[in-house]
Every structure is written in C-alpha cells, then in structure tokens.
Point group: C2
Chain length 142, copies 2
Amino acid sequence: MPITLPESARALIRSGALAHLVTLDPDGGPQVSTVWAGLDGDHIVTGHFGNYRKLRNLRRDPRIAISFAGAEPLPNGMHPNLVVYGTAEVTEGGAAELVGALARVYVAPDFEYQAPPGPPPGYVVRTTVERISGVGPWTAGS
Amino acid sequence: MPITLPESARALIRSGALAHLVTLDPDGGPQVSTVWAGLDGDHIVTGHFGNYRKLRNLRRDPRIAISFAGAEPLPNGMHPNLVVYGTAEVTEGGAAELVGALARVYVAPDFEYQAPPGPPPGYVVRTTVERISGVGPWTAGS
C-alpha cells in the first residue's frame, strides 16, 4: 500500500541528499548506483539518459530501495538515514527536464546541466513509496 | 573471485565516506542501512552491536553491496560513486573496538564513541570484494 511521506522525509529528499538507488539483478543480487532524486507528490522521481541496468532490472522486478543520508550528524556522530522502499515504474521521456531541474537543487540554483548530445528522450523512474526505515525524525516512534 | 581494491577505492573508503550497506530480505527484496566502514587488508569491515536484520539477512544470503559517494563533485555536478559487490561473513565479537576506531575516522580523531551499555560483544561483518562499479577513478577504463 502506498504511504504518505512525513514532512521531515520530504525535506531531506528536497535538500539535495544524494540517492543511493538499489535494484535487483536477474540473479537476485543487489545492484546500486547514485542518482539525483526529487518528489512528484508522494512519488520519488529520478531521470536517466540511457537504458541502464537499473532500468532493465526495474522493468523485470519493480522492487526498489532508495537510501539518503542527512548532512548533519546525530549526537552519537552517526548521520540520519532515510531508506524508502517501494515499487518503481519506468516511463520513456522527460529525463532532460527532470535532471535539469534536479541539477538546480543538487548543484546550484543557476546550474545548467549539460544533457548528453541529442538529447535522447531518456527515462523517468517513478517510485511509489510503501515503507520507510532508517534513523531520523521520519522514523521517530516507529 | 576476490579482487584487490584499487588504491583510489581504498582512499575513498578510508576518507570517512558513509557506507550504504545493502542486503537481501527473506522475500528477496533489498534492505539498506548506513554504517561506518573500514578496511582490513582487502576486506571491508563494519561493526554492529545488535543482531540486526542486515546480519540475519547476510547469514541466510551472504550477497552484499556497499555504496560510497565521494565528497567532491565531478565537472557535471554529480558525485563520484564506488559500489563494492561481494560476499559477507558475520562473526561474533569485536564491535566495540572496530566502531571505536571507525569513529575516529568518521567523526574526529579524538572522538570517543559511546558503545551501548554492557557492552555486548557485537558482530563484525567482513566483506570479500568480488566486483566494483560506479563512477570515479576506481572504474576508469572499465
């Protein structure tokens, strides 16, 4: 069942925290890469210019995990961590617009991301969030 | 087959880059948490005070992925990323010593990590590296 992200989790995702995106390889093993991520309502969205392994994995098995770390450490020296679990849908197109918008969050408000020549339409991965875990205000009391 | 980590990858791990550690749940889905990680020869080692889900997962299926991001962005604004794939062995004991040593890397050279009361012997996860991927000098030319 989809869940609504707590505001603290939304704030972390919007802060430009790098997303460690996990998919499952054909043999069931984990596959990881880092990406920029944004919000579209309660969905997490990422943009991709190539038909990368993570996209091929998600079309076969839509289970996804996305892990973010907060920049400010907790009193014990460890960093807050938000892990989002859900299912992903891969659609064609929209990568340049999304990655361009995310570059203004992740790099600088006036950063002009140079999409690969072409540009190809690319792909958007849209994650429906079903569960969150980690250590931070988003899991307080859970 | 175990591989030898390139020196650039070793330097990133030693720099205090947070480790996003991925295991596989009983249903085959991904499970992620962030931890401090260090090197013991060519193995990656992490310390844990409780018999957490990730440890139970690794005893059942030793496949592991550990993802690190570099602090300094590349010219396109994205961050270097090292992903280590391998198999993990969980042994009992040694958590306090390892986590205490890692705290001096991850927090400050004089930081005294407060282990949970007890302290329990805890666990060490030792990862044998079989493959690396990502974007950075460790994958240049691959």
